[in-house]
Symmetry: C2
Subunit: 217 residues, 2 copies
Amino acid sequence: MPESFAVTERTRVMREANRAVYDRETIYKILDEGFVCHVGFAVEGQPYVIPTMFARVQDAIYFHGSAASRMLRGASGGLPVCVTVTLLDGLILARSVFNHSMNYRSVVALGNAALISGPEEKLEALHAFTEKLIPGRWQDARQPTEQELKATSILKLPLTEVSAKVRTGGVEDDAADYALSVWAGIIPLRMVADAPLRDERCDPAIPTPAYAARYHR
Amino acid sequence: MPESFAVTERTRVMREANRAVYDRETIYKILDEGFVCHVGFAVEGQPYVIPTMFARVQDAIYFHGSAASRMLRGASGGLPVCVTVTLLDGLILARSVFNHSMNYRSVVALGNAALISGPEEKLEALHAFTEKLIPGRWQDARQPTEQELKATSILKLPLTEVSAKVRTGGVEDDAADYALSVWAGIIPLRMVADAPLRDERCDPAIPTPAYAARYHR
């Protein structure tokens, strides 16, 4: 696989092109850190954007497809989708209102998504979802039955047309504004986990697994 | 305004309908807590989903529209969009892989978005963006100039066709699975702010404002 995604007319970042990233390693890292993706699809010209769980496996994204899969009935060749993953890293407090911004990392993947059908591929996708959220959980939990796999709608989007946009670093003010007596800086943001809450029907003799007791991203 | 949004064919929640919410107060609270929305629009059948800053003002959403506004050129009557806001509250570790889930709150708003043009309305939208992110910041920062307002593309989406989906509470396992010796529970998630980082060009004599020193959502 080439180290970067080829830029297409559809993935060329037009606005703030200096923030564009097409490097595969950076893009995969963003995808792997995100919990939720936003899947866009259109029905008779009306777009819909639905949040859902996802995981990257090699050069494809799997995502839960209950909402989008309704649209897939009768659609051969897959459903045109856009899958977007966004991570927020901080608020940028500039001296001017106009230059306020955010540090963020986002990935936009375009293409045709198709339902996967084989139980083995579904199992692989569920494994990826679970291990992505809570590494180590898969082997502890009760495995999916044949029935459950049948009831699971998962879509696959090959990662072929992909771009990212990344803002890092600090405040960027207009030259004249640096003389203003206004505090400026970054407020870093991150997602944290609080102490786990044991299900009230969970036997207290079962120890809290390390992946829950000391959960972190 | 009615207390709930009317359910339409397009906003009726089909999957897990017990999680559907149409209540205006709940929906506005989710919108006001979210930092970023995901805007979906379609170009020649291909959907695009772009993350961007937004704010609710009364019964409308304003969002930065640089990407979408390109699509608006020549489109009279506005651009069909879907604006989705998602908040993650926790991971649900069930005894079975199949019943793993997330606690979340998401809002989906459908309609036609249009560019706003008047400098007063743009100023109001920028005020809403800034005060939503950092209450108190607007009066401290240098106000937008006429030039800056001209350079700002903001779209407005009236909130008329809106639904939310909310999952709260704990683990929901199949009856037979409660006998399994598997730890089950919730890992709560939340976004936190770390200590602010002063811009290196910011005079140390300028005190860190309370909204940055003790930032919290």
